[in-house]
């Protein structure tokens, strides 16, 4: 349904993201995992032209047979909200502070469906009920600052569902929320995806979260897709050294994840930091932080197949049968 080929996102002449191939099937849930600055959010938002202004996107993004790359804002606006929904990262900043909730949801409905004002209002009420918000008619008269962050994110999800989209792009939808609220929102997204047979492109820095939500996982590092496969394969049989490091750094227990965020020690087990854009080493971009470098790593690794639908790009992959390392 969504087929991305040779996607290249650049600032001026400097490429930030280069992804050769990434597909999502109808009703499938794909998670993109990576550290801050890996380009995972850029990849997701650029599909519907919501990347920061000034970045150029080239390549081919075929969605239901139509190429979305380079078609321009006006053509993309017709796809956004109707066939592809978008859930942003920070709900507290993503609702217009000066407009009531009802008005904002109604606008989404009208744009997605072309319904008249009264019908759109009724559908907005229905959508807000569908995301399990209580006392909907009172809520619609509220302003965003009068409701909690979790409720705001539900409102945003309701708006994204306005056009019954075939694909939902969720850009770290729970990062800004409390741990308890996080789980409820994640459950809601998964349930909606199952009920409506809606595909999901889910972006997160927490492997544990992605593992719980998605059928497939794509791991990005330095703007490159380094490994892609079914969730079970990636978790049990990672081949790329970066995936392996991520897995050992992130056991995936949600309480552990919360604790780590609290302590600010996330990914501490991976040596060093992600270099700034444009300062990655040549060849394999992970090689300056990798504990298993081989001479070949100075060259760009090609794509290898580890099994059906399981691909990776590594010169010195994790041997078969060896899961996450005890220590990295």
């Amino acid at each position: 349904m969504l087929e991305i080929r040779n996607l290249k996102i650049s600032v001026g002449t400097l490429p930030i993201v280069e992804i050769a191939k990434l597909d999502i099937g109808a009703g499938r849930r794909l998670g993109i995992v990576g550290e801050s600055g890996s380009g995972k959010s850029l990849t997701a938002t650029s599909i519907i032209g919501l990347q920061p202004r000034g970045l150029s996107v080239t390549g081919s993004i075929r969605f239901e047979g139509e190429d979305l790359a380079g078609v321009g804002d006006i053509a993309l606006a017709r796809v956004r909200g109707r066939r592809i929904g978008f859930v942003p990262q920070d709900p507290t900043r993503s609702l217009n502070p000066t407009t009531r909730i009802g008005g904002q949801v109604k606008e989404a409905v009208r744009l997605a469906t072309g319904l008249g004002a009264a019908a759109a209002w009724a559908r907005a009420e229905m959508l807000l009920g569908q995301v399990r918000l209580p006392d909907v008619s009172a809520l619609m008269r509220r302003y965003p600052h009068q409701i909690s962050g979790g409720q705001q994110q539900r409102v945003l999800i309701a708006m994204a569902m306005a056009g019954n989209p075939a694909l939902l792009i969720a850009d770290e939808p729970t990062t800004a929320l409390d741990v308890t609220v996080q789980n409820e929102i994640l459950r809601l997204i998964v349930e909606l995806s199952e009920e409506k047979n809606m595909a999901l492109l889910f972006v997160s820095h927490e492997l544990g979260v992605v593992k719980a939500v998605c059928h497939q996982i794509g791991v990005v590092y330095g703007g490159n897709l380094v490994e892609l496969g079914d969730t079970a394969d990636i978790v049990a049989r990672p081949r790329h050294r970066y995936t392996q490091a991520l897995l050992s750094a992130n056991p995936g227990l949600s309480d552990r994840a919360g604790l780590e965020r609290l302590m600010g020690t996330r990914f501490q087990t991976i040596r060093g930091n992600v270099p700034p854009v444009g300062q990655f080493p040549s060849g394999c971009r992970f090689r300056d932080r990798c504990g298993h470098t081989a001479p070949a790593c100075a060259e760009l690794p090609g794509v290898s197949h580890a099994g059906p639908g399981h691909e990776y790009a590594c010169w010195n992959p994790v041997p078969h049968g060896q899961g996450a390392e005890e220590t990295a």
Partner: protein, 325 residues
């Protein structure tokens, strides 16, 4: 009318009352204390003593100061502020008659400059990376540097003297002849609003550039709006909020400009009367006029405060966060 807005009105009125009280005391004190004997200022230093005595009795200058102040304030409520010494006119009557033109000029140019500033500022923000944005920026810089009265002179020279399109002065009430009134107000309002348009446009521009990066603009685009549509529907009102604050700070400049422009275009407003009274050293007229102009500023400030509260639902709202959700 919700509770939040009623409380905003209440607080605004209270602050208006306090400011008006302090302001009137300041005006009163400045005119009574700085120049010495008020009767001698009005009559001139070489006035005959008995003439001065008669004037002192007429103006109540022998009363204790608080009695004089209360009498003055009472005059505003009863419509009796006395007569001009040299002009012979009824001061309150003149103020009432001249309030219209002044308010027309001040409010008209405030609205014109707000509207133009929003348009120009938004345009230049969208094109901030291109030459067009820079042109607006430079234009705004130069625009704020031009004195309003000079713009008035240039406009008179261009449109009245050279082209003969518009009247160089005078005032026609919009009730008698709306078209003539409109034609007569074009040049005064243009010269009055040019500077503030330039200044406000710079604020709209920077506020818009900030807002373009806001997440809720992206949310709007996610719903199916194009970037300019999202900016217009979700950005404009949010960008207007700081602009209202800045225009409130500009009210003093606006009224100062009104006084000057009235004098250039011979508009029979409060500013023109004030100028005549200053030249005639009519302390009592100046005192009442200065206070009335101050009151106009305070009332307009109150209105802008309310507009601010209308634009931003977060102002004065105690229902924050999800506790009530």
């Amino acid at each position: 009318m919700n509770a939040r807005f009623l409380s905003l009105i209440g607080r605004g009125l209270a602050s208006l009352a306090v400011s008006a009280l302090v302001g009137s005391l300041l005006v009163f004190a400045m005119l009574r204390l700085l120049g010495g004997d008020v009767a001698l200022i009005i009559l001139g230093q070489d006035a005959k003593p008995d003439a001065a005595d008669a004037l002192r009795i007429e103006l109540g200058l022998n009363n204790p100061w608080h009695v004089q102040y209360v009498d003055w304030m009472r005059g505003f409520l009863t419509g009796n502020l006395g007569r001009s010494y040299s002009g012979g006119y009824d001061i309150f009557g003149q103020i009432a008659a001249r309030l219209g033109p002044t308010l027309f000029l001040a409010i008209g140019s405030l609205l014109v400059s707000l509207l133009l500033a929003l348009l120009i500022g938004t345009y230049s923000a969208i094109h901030s990376r291109r030459l067009r944005g820079a042109v607006v920026d430079v234009g705004a810089q130069v625009g704020t540097a031009i004195p309003a009265f000079w713009i008035g002179l240039v406009l008179i020279y261009l449109f009245s003297v050279t082209l003969g399109w518009l009247p160089a002065g005078g005032y026609v009430s919009p009730v008698t002849d709306p078209w003539k009134s409109f034609l007569g107000l074009i040049l005064p309002i243009a010269s009055l609003s040019a500077g503030s348009t330039a200044l406000l446009a710079r604020f709209v521009r920077s506020s818009m550039i900030d807002i373009m990066e806001e997440d809720y603009i992206r949310t709007g685009m996610g719903k199916g709006l194009t970037f300019p549509q999202a900016l217009f529907r979700h950005g404009l009102r949010n960008a207007a909020i700081p602009v209202v604050t800045v225009s409130a700070l500009q009210l003093g400049n606006l009224l100062a400009g009104t006084i000057v422009v009235e004098n250039i275009f011979v508009i029979p407003g409060l500013g023109r009367l004030l100028m005549v009274a200053v030249y005639g050293r009519e302390v009592m007229v100046v005192q009442s006029l200065v206070f009335i102009i101050l009151l106009i500023i305070l009332v307009m400030n109150f209105c802008l405060d309310l507009a601010y509260g209308l634009l931003d639902p977060r102002i004065g709202d105690r229902r924050k966060g999800g506790a009530h959700g």
